[in-house]
Point group: C2
DNA sequence: TAAAATGTTCATTTTTTATTGAACGCATTG
DNA sequence: CAATGCGTTCAATAAAAAATGAACATTTTA
C-alpha cells in the first residue's frame, strides 16, 4: 500500500505532468493554477480531469467550448464531456451563449460562496436526507435488553449520538455557505 | 467510466458485503452502523477499512485491540494497523491502557467537535499552509503586459480571487470546529 | 535465551475509480 | 438529403488507491 502516512497523503508536484501540459500550449501560469486545483480536488475527492477543466475555465478570459478544452488539456472528448456535466451539476460553471458559434461555451463560477453552496446542495444534502431513514432503522435495531444492561444502555447512547450529529450537520451545513459571504 | 451521474455518485448497499460481515459475528446493529460510516467515509475520501474500524470502535462498549478488530471485521493485520495509525493521527481514536493485557486497546472519540477539529488540523491545515507559498509563486508568474491589456488585468483579478479564497479558508476553517461545540 | 506475542512495514495483488475512444443521436449546412 | 459538426454514452482499458500477507523488529514469557 503506497499510502504513506495517511490516506489523504500529500502528493508532490509531478514534473512530468507539468511538462506534458506545457507542450500542449498552456502558459506557466495556467499550468500552475490548474495544478493547484488538481491538488485541492484530490483533497475533496474530485477526479483530476474535473479539476483541470475548472482550472482552465477559471483563468480563461473568455468562455471556452468543449473542443478547446480537450485540445488545451489533452484529455479525451469523453472526459471533457463528463467533467463539464459534473461541473454544471454543482453549478461550478455556467453555459454562455456565443453568437455565431454553435458550440456550447462555459465560464467558471468564481464566487466561493456559490461553489460551496452548490457542492453542499448537490452532493452533501442528498446524503444527509438518506441519513434520516437510516437512523430510524438503527433505532429499531437497538436491543431491548442485554445480558449486561449497561450494554444496551451504551448502545442507545451511541445511536443518540449519531442522531445528534445528524441534527448538527443539518443545522450547520447551510450555515457554512453564508459564512463565506 | 462507471461514474454514473457524478464523481461522488451514491453507492448502493452491497448485500454480499453485508452478509460477509454478518457471518463474522457482528450484530445487525453493528453491521448497519459500520455501513453508515463506510458510506460517510467515502464522501470524505477515507478508505473503507478506516471507516469500518472507527464504526466498530464507536459502538464497542469496551476498547478493542488490533487482533479483535481484524477478526471481527475480517480485515488483514496490515489494514488494521494502518487504519489505526491514521485514526490516531487525526485523534479519532485514543489508546486505552488495559491492565494485565499487553495489547494496545483503542476507543473511539465520539465528540463531533473533536473529530472535525482533528481532521481540519491534521489534514486540511497543512494544505492551506503550502498554499501560501504557491500563491506567491502564482503572483510572480503574472504577465506584466499582454497584447490586450484587459487580459493581464483579468489574470491579476483571478490570482487575487485565489488569495481571497485562501484568506477565507484560513479564517473560516478554525471557526467550523467551534460551531459544533 | 528460545519461543511466543504484538505490532509495523512494504512489495505484491486486488479492487476501485477514472479515462479513453468508438458508436450513436441530433441538429445544421451545403 | 447526404455530409459535417457537436456532444453524449458506455464498454473497454488504464491508472490510482487500498488490502493483503510475509518479513521484520521489539518485547515478553517460559
Amino acid at each position: 500500500m503506497p499510502t504513506i502516512t495517511s490516506p489523504l497523503s500529500d502528493r508532490a508536484i509531478d514534473p512530468v505532468e507539468a511538462v506534458s501540459l506545457e507542450e500542449s500550449g498552456l502558459s506557466e501560469l495556467e499550468i500552475e493554477v490548474i495544478d493547484l486545483f488538481v491538488g485541492a480536488a484530490r483533497l475533496f475527492g474530485f477526479p483530476k480531469s474535473v479539476a483541470q477543466i475548472y482550472g482552465l475555465l477559471f483563468l480563461a478570459p473568455e468562455p471556452l467550448p468543449l473542443d478547446e478544452i480537450t485540445s488545451r488539456l489533452q484529455i479525451s472528448k469523453g472526459s471533457a464531456s463528463q467533467g463539464l456535466k459534473f461541473l454544471r451539476s454543482v453549478s461550478a460553471i455556467k453555459p454562455v451563449f456565443v453568437p455565431g458559434d454553435r458550440r456550447d461555451h462555459f465560464r467558471a463560477v468564481a464566487e466561493l460562496k456559490q461553489l460551496v453552496s452548490g457542492f453542499i446542495k448537490e452532493e452533501l444534502e442528498p446524503h444527509i436526507e438518506t441519513g434520516t431513514v437510516r437512523l430510524e432503522r438503527l433505532r429499531s435495531l437497538l436491543p431491548q435488553e442485554t445480558a449486561d444492561p449497561s450494554i444496551s444502555e451504551h448502545l442507545a447512547t451511541r445511536v443518540e449520538r449519531l442522531e445528534n450529529w445528524h441534527g448538527k450537520a443539518k443545522k450547520v451545513l447551510p450555515l457554512v455557505g453564508k459564512l463565506l459571504g
